[in-house]
């Protein structure tokens, strides 16, 4: 299948457990071993208590649609997903927010609602890259 979106570039060393986890259909999040803060995006020191010991947990994959947009055109030549499509900010049950797409839903601003429950869907692009996309919960 033709890859319909830009591949993540660069894939940084501190995010390796995130990308490794996705290949096994797991959504992994960094968690501070000192204060327990679960955060996004991956970095070498905790943004809350600033210590260096960072571990990883498997997230539930559940969350809510914190904010969204409906794209009527592509904003990057390599992004070939057919418009209209939903650009989404997801608030994960574990706390952090990440950007993604809401799929398996009609891209209609009249029916999409902020705070609607969503769940992760794993979308394999290449042998190396699987992306976490989201769909309405309980589909």
């Amino acid at each position: 299948m033709e890859i319909d979106r830009p591949l993540p570039n660069p894939m940084t060393p501190e995010a390796k457990p995130f990308w490794d986890g996705l290949r096994e259909q797991k959504l992994m999040l960094p968690k501070c071993q000192a204060c327990g803060h679960v955060f996004w995006y991956p970095r070498v020191a905790c943004p809350k208590c600033h210590t260096r010991g960072i571990g990883w947990i498997q997230a539930s994959g559940r969350g809510t649609l914190h904010a969204f947009e409906v794209g009527y055109q592509a904003f990057n030549k390599a992004f070939k997903v057919e418009p209209p499509y939903v650009l989404a900010m997801i608030e994960l049950a574990e706390g952090p927010r990440m950007l993604s797409n809401l799929i398996n839903v009609e891209a209609d601003p009249r029916t999409l609602k902020c705070d609607m429950p969503v769940e992760v869907v794993f979308s394999k692009l290449t042998d190396e890259v699987t992306l976490p996309l989201f769909q309405p919960a309980g589909r």
Partner: protein, 358 residues
């Protein structure tokens, strides 16, 4: 003990101007827009290019590049780049540098070939947007501001009609400015039925992209008396930076950076949000000004010009308002003007309190 108030009224804006032309300029490089704006602003101040010894600029060119292009060897340089508000923040940096004698004549320069892309280096994704945003179709500013806007609509019940009204109002102001790119009047209905780009925005909610340059010249208050025009005193200044990636913003509907920068500027100037006769906001998107006003505790660029990092232009307009140079768009009896702008996605902010009285 350092006191913020020590910096109040010690330096003045003495020269402002734009590049020779603004709009669609495929015949002019980005660097030329800088040089035109600086030479025009220095002339406005009644100074010479050789008087410049402090160079401040944000964006793709370093202050050393601007110095080289002008034929000036600066003894103070500042290249703070935190988005479009960088130039507003640099007024504060220039005031501090002038106060301490690190330079005597500071020029803040902006030039951007945002529309024609002449002499512009290609953008490269850094680790965060390239890795965690681009694969989902995110990229330019409209794809970020829409998120802020839908969250605001969800939380406060704001409507598409209200955002459209912001575009209508800014266009009314631009109609009074002969240099504005878009001057024909528009209605709320026009905004709503324009080409949809990324809901909740149509093309008329989104910043114009133009080619433009602008520059501001500052010097200490004692020297300002010898310049060509009435000096504009920098009474208060503030800056702040909350986040870069939108996922890191605490509350999408409130700009912490704006609040921090505004509070500092008001405290330094000894004024409150209600004391201004004139307010200039950096409004690249229709949802920007309402959120900025709210964050400041209390409007106008969507139609005039927006080269990209737009923050130099509200300083130029506020200075002209305080000098009384604005003809049909002149606000009567302006003594105190507030300039506030944001950078990135409400990520950073700069605030200035400017006055024509000491």
């Amino acid at each position: 003990m350092a006191n913020l108030r020590d910096l109040s009224n010690v330096a003045c804006i003495v020269g402002v101007d734009e590049s020779d032309e603004m709009g669609t300029l495929p015949h002019k490089s980005q660097l030329s827009l800088h040089v035109e704006a600086v030479t025009n602003a220095v002339r406005d101040a009644g100074l010479k290019i050789s008087d410049i010894d402090g160079i401040f600029t944000a964006g793709q060119h370093s202050p050393a590049t601007i110095g080289e292009a002008l034929g000036v060897m600066p003894r103070y340089v500042d290249g703070t780049t935190v988005g479009g508000c960088s130039f507003i923040i640099m007024v504060g940096h220039a005031v501090a540098a002038l106060h301490h004698g690190l330079c005597d004549v500071a020029v803040i320069s902006h030039g951007e070939s945002g529309r024609s892309q002449v002499g512009v280096s290609p953008r490269r994704d850094t680790a965060i947007p390239g890795q965690f945003e681009a694969p989902f179709g995110f990229g330019p500013a409209p794809t970020m501001f829409g998120l802020i806007t839908t969250r605001h609509m969800h939380r406060y019940g704001t409507t598409l009609e209200q955002w459209a009204q912001v575009a209508v109002s800014t266009r009314q102001w631009a109609a009074l400015n002969p240099k504005a790119l878009r001057r024909e009047p528009i209605t709320v209905a026009d905004v709503l039925k324009a080409r949809p780009v990324v809901w909740p925005f149509t093309v008329l909610n989104i910043c114009l992209v133009t080619d433009a340059g602008g520059a501001v010249v500052l010097t200490r208050a004692d020297r300002a008396k010898d310049c060509a025009k009435k000096p504009v005193y920098v009474r208060g200044l503030g800056e702040g930076a909350e986040h870069v990636s939108l996922t890191q913003m605490k509350d999408l509907t409130f700009s912490e950076a704006t609040r921090i920068s505004g509070e500092k500027a008001f405290r330094m100037a000894g004024v409150g949000p209600g004391d201004f006769q004139h307010i200039m906001l950096y409004d690249a998107f229709t949802s920007g000004p309402p959120i900025m006003l709210e964050s400041l505790g209390l409007a106008k660029g969507l139609s005039y010009t927006h080269s990209g990092m737009y923050g130099i232009f509200p300083i130029i307009e506020a200075t002209r308002q305080l000098r009384g140079e604005c003809n049909q768009r002149q606000v009567p009896n302006v003594k105190l003007s507030l300039v506030n702008g944001m950078g990135g996605m409400l990520s950073a902010a700069g605030t200035l309190v400017l006055s024509n009285e000491r």
